[in-house]
Symmetry: C2
Subunit: 537 residues, 2 copies
């Protein structure tokens, strides 16, 4: 066969067709994970939409079993809904959306999540998804599916309603899935979503009809993250070339100031000195790759102001504490929010961590309670690929014994870490693990060590308290005998003696108990944490 | 903000733009892996093209270092080349190609490999790739790149030549890569490609200028795998619906017979009885999802002839033995090719395995030689994600000690396994690991156990031989003393006695050595292997 014959069959395939064959790339691999992925996509979209619309989210997730591997998933929110004319593209066209072209911290980013669910539903059950949407102006229901060969949405059975419904409700029938109450299942996903989103009220109706309600612990809508300009130190050659090509600025100089943060007039002058061969007055469209490469190298030599850090949206220290108390009901909690920091020179990020002890913290196993590491990236729970994650790495490198926690694995502990950034450096394809950036691991370690100190005080206090308690109980057991003996020697009344003794002992030990209680009280950001940072850095 | 405002920014992105942001999905993650991925894509395309054109492949791979993380990769083959009018789409348009719509065993399948390289080159260096192609009719050079925002190829500097060049040569400049002589690097990839493709002659020019030449060990072009129809037991509802929708057959009955293998007239009748509610005379376009679901269920109840197995292209037992001898130069080799088998009821596959002992088998480490597991899927080396792979799992569950190999990890052993199938069930996103299908693991185990038996015979033979040798040497050391003693007792000549003794001993041991040599000779497919299969199944 020659080339013409071989290439006779040359064809194109749609991106939907590609993802139909490679649905594992979108998180659809394994029955349990596929179900969690679908719920994750819808819940993520609901949270982003509510945040954008400035609404306190109320979300209902319902999973119903149809047969062995077939379920329906319904997710309803009270968000802004979807305009009727865009419902098809928003839910059934892979690679379209409102999110992927912004430099802003957000949960979903790909313009692929909801369409991926529609595709998976179509692939495994042949069914369209059912949509009900109410915006301020209109309300409607319809069925939406995707024509895989062409990546085109098909909207059918559109019906306008005037029921005043506001929000979005999607029902998808999914095959090849399984509901399981494991670490990787929907229940855990929803619980963790509630943990990292204190302003969300979320109800899960499980296949057996049980309702799990996670009420909000905060009535405050998180401030919207700002869309920011990238910092010169976080930028790659290919970004500059791309931005330049589409820029409407007239000169390279003004393009750089307008596109990147911290590029002031005087910094442009400094740059000019470093790259004398590049004409900064020419059009950015004429910037060559080699020139952009030179600019990136020069950026590295200039001393820049740190990136703007108010682009980051965190959960917040008080909120984490409230939500942990709300959901895990621990006997003690320590929370630390670190100051924003920067990795790879120019990408801002911030770490928050909390450790909960006792109550419903940790996880039950056949051998008793075990500690549990709860990972989040931009408040989204990461349920898979834990062993490849910077958070796991940081947790494993803490010498817990130094903090009075001898068998870390076997404690009723929940360690919760949230990393927030405009650009989370995921290590894997599934976006379920954060890569091992030194700066990020360092910040997580510092946050955990500060929490561990508080836990240490509490645990040591508890231990001392229980020691004192057992001494107290022992002495109290002897008190009757002692009173008899003293009564016989002294001839005084046995009852009086016993009462006095009891009072004496109570006074002594109650003082001790109070002292311990004070020690083990609240989480603190004391100067010792700062000292620890100094050592570790 | 209301829905209209939020959706004002609704946009579409191109599939290239998506993969630019998610290049790890295509194997571009980590500097070493990214370079191996690029070489893999080009070499795979060369092998497939030569196979299709019926040419004995001669491939040259050259890697040159430009600066710390920037390299050029050149891959040249003697295949059919690319017709001029398709060069852009073939090399710089993601999701187009000749391969992805066939049900046939082939190395590449996605229509994404070469375009992915062009994208990665564009992303990391801004450069186009340089192409030289000679088909039977024409010869030309050109530069090709991809406009990422639109997924459109750009072909520049096209120049027609009449130099008689036949084949394809691509040179790509890549950034963010690294050449490393590790298990994951280009050298190992090429060496393993040579191992699994005995008919290929391949030269690697390393960045330091050294040339590694892997000559072909077979002049036979492997027979092209046949394009086959899917077996009814390997088919999913969604496939039936898709096929039916695009079928030009007039009835469901003829559609089923034409589309799937083993669906004879009498099987259609049997099906009719099982699904009385479905009109098999209606147009396949009217087949509903629910009906297709019923048909799949009924397929499961019918007794089918096994799938056609001649669709599978293996390396071949003699070829594996030749190529292992050629490249690893071992002191002993055992090879087994299993009969084709089926997983998930309808998907044919076949396992080949070889174990090489001594010589260049195994891998050197600081602590001495270590065993090495060399994995292939459809003859393509799998270098990453080994721990998730069915081949690794099978190797780890063999009780090597039972075969006289006490410390499997610490032996100069190379274990080579190739799984061939039209549909390899990859477990991960990166297509670097085969998922844990019971039938596949079972077949790999049987192949390995048969090889292990041969190795056992050889190793025990070697051990006995070296034992005998040390006894011989010991006796020979005493022979002088013994001759003197006997001479003194008998009064006979000491020299004569010693000569007789030496002759006696030599005769005895030489017989033993020969016996061992016979035992440890060639690999065999004896009846014992069959017995072992019986036990294990």
């Amino acid at each position: 066969m020659d080339a013409d014959e071989i290439f006779k069959e040359f064809k194109e395939q749609s991106v939907s067709e590609f993802f139909r064959k490679n649905s594992q790339m979108l998180g659809y691999s394994g029955k349990v994970r596929s179900l969690t992925t679908a719920v994750h996509e819808y819940v993520t979209n609901s949270l982003d939409a509510c945040e954008e619309a400035g609404v306190l989210p109320e979300i209902m997730v319902k999973v119903t079993q149809l047969d062995e591997t077939k379920y329906t998933v319904t997710v309803r929110d009270n968000g802004p809904g979807i305009p009727e004319k865009l419902v098809g593209s928003a839910l059934a066209k892979v690679l379209s959306g409102t999110k992927f072209h912004r430099y802003i911290q957000q949960r979903g980013q790909q313009g692929i999540g909801a369409a991926g669910c529609t595709l998976f539903s179509r692939m495994t059950t042949g069914k369209p998804i059912h949509v009900r949407s109410g915006t301020e102006r209109q309300s409607y229901t319809c069925d939406v599916t995707i024509e895989i060969k062409t990546n085109r949405p098909i909207v059918e059975n559109l019906e306008k309603l005037s029921d005043g419904f506001r929000g979005l409700e999607i029902t998808a029938e999914l095959g090849e899935v399984k509901y399981e109450k494991s670490d990787h299942g929907v229940y855990e996903y929803i619980k963790r979503t509630a943990l990292s989103n204190p302003h969300v009220s979320i109800t899960l109706v499980e296949p057996d009809g049980k309702e799990a309600f996670f009420p909000r612990s905060s009535g405050e809508i998180p401030k919207r993250p700002k869309q920011i300009k990238p910092h010169p130190l976080g930028v790659q050659v290919n970004d500059i070339v791309d931005f330049a090509h589409f820029s409407s600025e007239r000169t390279v100089a003004s393009f750089l100031s307008e596109t990147f943060s911290r590029v002031t007039k005087s910094k442009v002058d400094e740059l000019g000195q470093l790259v004398p061969g590049i004409d900064l007055k020419k059009s950015p469209k004429d910037l060559s790759w080699a020139e952009a490469e030179e600019i990136v190298k020069a950026f590295g030599k200039i001393k820049w102001m740190a990136p703007e850090l108010d682009s980051l949206s965190t959960i917040g220290r008080a909120q984490i504490e409230a939500t942990i108390k709300n959901i895990l009901n621990p006997t003690f909690v320590a929370v630390v929010e670190r100051r924003p920091s920067v990795f790879r020179g120019g990408i801002p990020f911030v770490v928050e961590a909390g450790i909960a002890y006792g109550g419903d913290a940790g996880k039950a196993s056949e051998e008793g309670m075990r500690s549990s590491v709860i990972r989040f990236a931009n408040k989204v729970p990461l349920l898979f690929d834990g062993s490849a994650c910077a958070i796991t790495e940081a947790v494993n490198t803490i010498q817990w014994r130094r903090y009075g926690i001898s068998d870390f694995e076997e404690q009723p502990l929940s360690v919760m870490v949230n990393v927030s950034s405009v650009y989370i450096p995921y290590s894997g394809v599934g976006k379920q693990a954060i890569s091992h950036e030194d700066e990020i691991i360092g910040e997580i370690r510092l946050a955990l060590m500060a929490c561990a100190k508080d836990i240490e005080r509490y645990v040591r206090g508890e231990r001392a308290k229980s020691l004192q308690e057992s001494r107290y109980n022992m002495i109290m057991r002897y008190v009757g005998q002692l009173a008899s003996d003293i009564s016989e020697i002294s001839g005084k009344d046995r009852g009086d003696i016993e009462a006095s003794l009891r009072k004496l002992i109570d006074t002594k030990y109650s003082r001790l108990f109070e002292g311990n209680a004070e020690q083990g009280g609240e989480a603190s950001d004391s100067e010792e944490d700062t000292a620890e940072e100094g050592q570790a850095e």
